[in-house]
Subunit: 549 residues, 2 copies
């Protein structure tokens, strides 16, 4: 009775839901064992709060079932009793989907961490939903494979959460979406029924592909208990480069050239703007630009080391540094790049410009010499066209890790700088960065006194996926929110984009769904929700909830 209205979604607690009773808790303890039933307020805290510390739930109960059978019994009981639940994996979701809104029971999958099988010949992995992505990647590495997805949160997100959010991540460009790589699922439905769709076959056209419904459903249609997924062969050769570009147009040109010249070995194409670089350097100890501000490598501090790919090319001397998390741990080539080879006017002009954007380009291939040859040719092309001002080629795993580190800690750095409004949007690549500029302008004109607000853009440029972050040192406020929304959503709609590329709808965007989906589509979604969860006990208030009510 104390939690009546959600500050984020304006929803009120569902009137048909029961209140949790002591007898319920007793039942859960008998079912799952004492140790898997948590009621301690302190221990519940981190499960009630989301990664961004933006959403705050008020659950009094956390359940940690260890088997599918237990999940089934729990759901059957909750359905019978009309007790709402929220499924939670690693709690790294960024739209408030995995935390309770009111007092929903938290059903954590973190007790379900068994790897069920791995077929060496086909690369099909079957694992329980609570397996952490990194642990699965480590496991399949031992068999010569990699997981088909990779993201900054890999150390804590769970495969069930990944599938439930249809996570995209850093290598979707190469390995495709989970709608293509998930082979099968085991799902417990609202009434406790176990739906066994856990096939490991590459092809299976036997009626409607039901598993697809649960991929990206954000836990509103059922609880995923196990996942079968197609892993990709581990590449024999991985190459990474860090590039500085003078403009966003140059970023898109580099992307186009990478798609053509790196083609089948291109595995990631990421970008960040200069504001991201600044906030990372300011907020995080020991992380700095691998290229200096002036656009060249600080050769003074470095020993010279030849990059494996530098034979026979006109790249400059490489530099290394024993501390791989500080700059210059790589082979830089811009300083001695031969301008005679370049389209000289544009090249010399752009050499004067400060780098406004950075890119991480990565290749996954089976033949190092071939890959390096392709990469060299690509770098020569983008340098000579003036689209790249400067760059570093990683010459070791540690160096490539440190390049990737910069890209991966942006979210964290923004969070340290302030409370972050995060928008994860799809847009045609050409107009993508215009949204960041439009927001910067709007904030400057509407809130001229709030110069402390930091607006920046980064993301998976290879997939047309922009992460727009607005970091507010003084915390979340209605004033800022109203400047941002619905402006951002309308802008996206006006440019044929999507208000959620990969993070999902969750609680954050449930009210904004109409900017990306027609009313008819939302109606069909709601019918599916009602069909599979007639009492609405699984993850209420999320995704299609507003439209239902």
């Amino acid at each position: 009775p104390i939690f009546k209205r959600c500050g984020h979604c304006q929803a009120t607690r569902g009137p048909s839901y029961s209140q949790l009773q002591t007898s319920d808790v007793e039942w859960f303890k008998r079912c799952l064992g004492e140790s898997n039933v948590v009621t301690d307020v302190e221990r519940l805290k981190s499960f009630n709060r989301d990664w961004m510390k933006k959403y705050q739930g008020h659950s009094q109960l956390l359940l940690r079932p260890k088997t599918t059978q237990h999940v089934s019994e729990v759901l059957a009981y909750c359905n019978e009793r009309s007790l709402p639940i929220v499924p939670q994996g690693g709690n790294t979701g960024l739209v408030g989907g995995g935390v309770p809104v009111f007092d929903e029971i938290i059903l954590s999958t973190q007790g379900m961490t068994r790897i069920l099988s791995f077929e060496e010949s086909s690369g099909a992995l079957v694992a329980e939903a609570g397996c952490v992505l990194q642990a699965l990647d480590d496991h399949v590495t031992g068999h010569g494979y990699i997981m088909p997805l990779d993201l900054g949160a890999k150390g804590s997100c769970c495969i069930g959460g990944n599938v439930s959010t249809n996570a995209g991540g850093l290598r979707l460009l190469r390995y495709g979406s989970l709608h293509g790589s998930v082979l099968g699922l085991e799902v417990v439905m609202a009434d406790g029924t176990i739906l066994d769709l856990l096939k490991t076959l590459r092809k299976d056209n036997t009626g409607y592909d039901l598993k697809q419904l649960f991929i990206g459903a954000e836990g509103t249609l059922g609880v995923i208990t196990a996942v079968a997924i197609q892993c990709a062969p581990r590449p024999a050769s991985v190459q990474s480069v860090f590039l500085a570009c003078p403009s966003f147009e140059a970023v898109t040109k580099v992307l186009g050239t990478a798609k053509t010249m790196l083609a089948e070995i291109l595995s990631a194409a990421e970008f960040l703007d200069q504001h991201c670089m600044r906030v990372v350097e300011e907020q995080l100890e020991g992380v700095s630009n691998p290229l200096t501000d002036s656009g060249t490598c600080t050769a003074a501090s470095a020993a010279v080391a030849a990059a494996p790919g530098s034979e026979g090319t006109n790249k400059g001397p490489a530099c290394t540094d024993s501390n791989t998390t500080t700059g210059c741990s790589t082979s830089s080539f811009a300083s001695t790049f031969d301008p005679d080879n370049a389209a000289s006017s544009s090249s010399s002009a752009s050499l004067q410009l400060p780098p406004r954007f950075y890119m991480v380009i990565e290749t996954h291939g089976s033949h190092e010499a071939h890959d390096v040859e392709k990469l060299d040719a690509f770098l020569e092309a983008v340098m000579s066209e003036g689209h790249v001002l400067d760059g570093c080629v990683a010459t070791s795993k540690a160096q490539s890790d440190s390049m990737w580190h910069i890209r991966e800690v942006i979210a964290e750095a923004c969070g340290r700088a302030g409370s972050v409004y995060k928008y994860d949007v799809s847009l045609p690549v050409q107009v993508m960065y215009q949204l960041v500029e439009a927001v910067q302008q709007r904030l400057a004109s509407q809130l001229p006194h709030r110069q402390d607000i930091l607006t920046l853009g980064y993301g998976h440029v290879g997939d047309g996926n922009l992460h727009l972050n607005v970091s507010v040192p003084s915390g979340y406020s209605q004033e800022v929110q109203e400047v941002l929304e619905p402006f951002i959503y309308e802008w996206i709609q006006g440019h044929s984009g999507s208000i959620s590329a990969e993070h999902g709808i969750g609680l954050m965007k449930a009210g904004a769904l109409t900017y990306s989906k027609s009313l008819k589509a939302i109606q069909v979604m709601s019918s599916i929700k009602s069909m599979l969860d007639p009492k609405g006990i699984i993850n209420p208030y999320k995704v299609v909830y507003k439209q239902q009510a």
Copy 2:
């Protein structure tokens, strides 16, 4: 009233459906225009009969709407009047899904052939459902792209039919399933509502991914009117080889080596058995084994031409022939393969064996020299291990076309040899061919007098997808059918396979769905069907029908 019971599915004509009236035909003529309404019995014949000539419908009306609006009006009318319809594209489906069972109205998409847009920078194509796959591939070729799927029926199948059957085809291995490459759909639902899901974004996590439901639904949930699909960059270099292997185990070894050594450039791995080769040579004029029976190239008839990849490798003299549809139009290497480089005992032993299997291996890459180098190394490996007895490398597009031709005409050749029972199954690669042998043995023991029956296997071995064909010269018969079914379905179920890898369920396998899907899954499918098509007017008797009744 004349068509009471279907010989294939035992269904009776739905009692709630109306009979077509003259006034209905008049209404359709007013709506679509006279020329798009066909009632002529002769013209209807080919639309009432499926590609295999196994299923025979009795429709008296064919509609050819030209716009989505017209499809919408037609469906609204049919739903109102309870007139059942069957959507039809190119009518190349192989499970009787696209032809009427009784007197359903045929709704052909062949009038909807406009290409709506193509985004050069991203490769996103939007086209009406009736566009023929080959026409789309030709269109995007002009922009440097290829369609992400390719199949033998490409000259007549339509993109709407491809999506509705979730067609796999020859290059799924490389470009993935349509669940990953379809970006958006426009669908007309049973009541005529137009569901606009026609996005062209690579990523769009805004609620349930409704389009996935219609991919592979075989026209039972709605009529697809337009498709947005992600095309792949056209490869700069395509290499094809035709190989002879002594055993199916050798085929699986070659596949494993191809996955490792060709890795990111591998685009197809197909196999056929010796029976396929024989029936193709016997039934089709001018098509013959590019390798001779003795396992060497008939050098006598051929001019010597160097394969582009033969420099620096120890391959033998190549042979070409101006008539590319007869054998030896390629660069053969087995005859002069240096046995000193081979694991000689196994190699010399296997050279004595007759080739029992053939493979077509293809690569798509961006760099010809690299691709050829990888291919050469691969060929040396599989030859030296004794897994390949003989092989040809195509040295021109015409030569590679003639290799592919053999693979692609097997279905046609079988059809000429008799009436064909076609099974399209997924199985773990290791046991795949055992099914063909089990069926051969069963036929031999149960029907010893029927030595004319030809049982053969071929398919997409790279995806674990076997096509098992049983060709019966004297025609379809209950006797043969009863020997084959349920034996084959039970065998597949016992080996964790799928009774339909890519062709679908249609009418043919509606009664066998339980061999691949749990009752609970079938129940959920039926609920979805009832939800989206409450009167059951779209493609009745197919996929989940039996379970509904």
